[in-house]
Symmetry: C2
Subunit: 476 residues, 2 copies
Amino acid sequence: MPTEQHFPDPAVLDRFAAIVGESHALRDPADIAPYVTERRGLWPGATALVLRPGSVEEVSAIMRLATETGTPVVPQGGNTGLVGGQSPDIGGGEIVLSLSRLNRIREVDLASNTITVEAGVVLQTLRDKADELDRLFPLSLGSQGTAQIGGNLSSNAGGTGVLAYGNTRELCLGVEVVLPTGEVFDDLRKLKKDNTGYDLKNLFVGAEGTLGVITAAVMKLFPKPKGREVAWVGLQSPKDALALFTLASERAGASLTAFELIVDAPLAFVLKHIPGSVAPLSSPHPWHVMLEISSGRSAEDARALIEEILSEGFEAGTVSDAVIAASLAQAESFWRIRESMSDAQRPEGGSIKHDISVPVASIPDFIDAAWQAVLAVEPGARMVCFGHMGDGNLHYNISQPVGGDKDAFLALYRPINDAVHDVVRAFDGSISAEHGIGRMKRDELIATAPPVAIDLMRRVKAAFDPAGIMNPGKVI
Amino acid sequence: MPTEQHFPDPAVLDRFAAIVGESHALRDPADIAPYVTERRGLWPGATALVLRPGSVEEVSAIMRLATETGTPVVPQGGNTGLVGGQSPDIGGGEIVLSLSRLNRIREVDLASNTITVEAGVVLQTLRDKADELDRLFPLSLGSQGTAQIGGNLSSNAGGTGVLAYGNTRELCLGVEVVLPTGEVFDDLRKLKKDNTGYDLKNLFVGAEGTLGVITAAVMKLFPKPKGREVAWVGLQSPKDALALFTLASERAGASLTAFELIVDAPLAFVLKHIPGSVAPLSSPHPWHVMLEISSGRSAEDARALIEEILSEGFEAGTVSDAVIAASLAQAESFWRIRESMSDAQRPEGGSIKHDISVPVASIPDFIDAAWQAVLAVEPGARMVCFGHMGDGNLHYNISQPVGGDKDAFLALYRPINDAVHDVVRAFDGSISAEHGIGRMKRDELIATAPPVAIDLMRRVKAAFDPAGIMNPGKVI
């Protein structure tokens, strides 16, 4: 933490505040606090000013003034990011631009299956709206009650719906972006095919607010499945899970809408720490898969398909035990177990987390190799691996030894991180599959990515934000 | 055409030739001819040298020398592009870099469902290879017997498989690119989720070789459908087609693998000019749809689904008549009709073509509005509209009046083009849905796209190719 903080000139702050009006310009430390802290208490920040603009014109005026005065701006959505991409640094010189008040649904086009939303629309609100319209918006995250679509776009959020529907990037047809100069790049199109020049949309999506401020987007809607079935499966190994995944993909194609792999520990943690949790299967298994099948045709169709997959899995010997949720309530209870895993890990002490991806076929070998690498650092470590196996994406988390010292374990953060990430790189994987780079992984990205890639990214950054005022210190 | 041509210094040409060896450096005009003409005879070009490198190292050495000597380079695949993006200008100062010899399939990973191919692999070869592996590579184009995957990527090719599987962009997981400096950007990853910095892959895909030379890519493979059914449907209007599309999407979801809209004229042209063609339906209809359903489960499943959709369409009154192909041979004959439409249009005289997209819901209104605009220019014009309605993409072609003068009609190229494209813009559509910009639409793009977008594209171009040696005069 720097010993000195440098806040912008108060006269400049007054000019920023005048754009949004005093009631939407927060300067009181108590009002500011929620914008400079995040729920895990990592990445503390400081700012003299949080601006809550109510229109694209105000965002544009803010960025114009930021360019004029050289004031760094940190765009922020629901503040649920896990890599510190949404918070200002501790120096106090950056101002926070909250998109929360840009929360209108601008247009619904059911025939084109699109919805045009502003950045501050909460993901759950968007999901509910789609549901009301008899459509599905498939992006689904643990933090969806707070996360905003602008943040989801800026971090190219993943979650459990990626397998069939894609990342946030793939759900987006067009964006509206305020550039660092205040100019508005209006590309709010609904087109599935458009080959008119460079793909600028995909540059802004996933840029974590370092190239411009996404203020609105055209998102895809999907037909709501008529049938949905969830099964909980017990297996002996990740290898069996891979065989089951291959089988399920072949049989179900795009009807396979979730395939989550879970080792025994996180299930045990949920059963122990989350009140009301019930084990889906009667006996313990070393590994589990949660499988979802959706059908556009009927509930019976989804049921027949999931039964076919599971019985073939039994015959092939890859499935040890399985239960299909008998009711919507039971299906929801399975999902609740899956979504409670992060919370349930907390009472087990120190945890060192990894958000990685490797080619799907490498998942079993990766798990083995990473585990050997972790054990070499801490023989008492516990593997708390769970995640979106169908996407090659695992939350390969490590909990401290039972009864061990938390601080001593957390002191191993760097060596365990390095050990796991070295294995990720050996498998041509990604050290940030779905959470992004932010502040957390910036140094590691720069140190370990191919220099050519870093050079190209720097050229993009310099081309779009030559003054370096857009969310500095993040990504690159 | 310029009156003078300026060829590079022969000493420089010798240095280029030395990189690939004389046998792969073409200098004889007869050898060069196929690389500077394209099949329709548009966009004639001239060059003193065609280089056919055999390795990425040679491509890299060529670009290094191009940077050193300031020599412009035009990358070329199968030379099937429709907008002149792959040919050198007539001035003679540009050299052609053919990727045809980079035609290895580097790796197949069936468990990850990926195939890593070099740029010069012919699309049909890739499709056949996937088929051999009991997989599907869904990119499908009229020119697939000649087009190469590097060109498909550079132009983000579309075709008939986009509805369920996406554009070429969506089929690609990673790229290897030689930059203008000769540096190699190796991003040949197989990851479905990777949030480590800016999305550089999507910048190179669709850039038509103006930012670098794609030398290899990791492409997705899909399970081969177990059942596939094709129906030919007669309808009264595009509005009925839209209703049928909505119904089919809801019922079939991702199993709806093609939805092509066809007005009466192009079918009549095929029946008249393409020997062996047979009308799918016994009576004429003003509009037609060709519909394909694929099932990952079984042939019976695909059959049941397509029957359900068609019978619901009959009940709703949107379908006038329909026939499901009774055999693979009949299905192929339906597809052949669809794919012969460009050829069948030729004997009907002059043709003015448009590759446009609008939001799917706007297709009926667009067709009406564009038709009024065309008739205002030439009352005798004939609408030869067909295309990928499910993607909002139509080949909105116009044939000359029956018995009229071809040259007089072609003299209307600009006013008819402007008329149609003005309507496209009024519907927030794209003037190049799947063919790209190349030389053909560059001036129009620059004149009509929002200046902010053009400015951002120019910044990208300058950041990646500051010397302007990568395929100059194309896109931007």
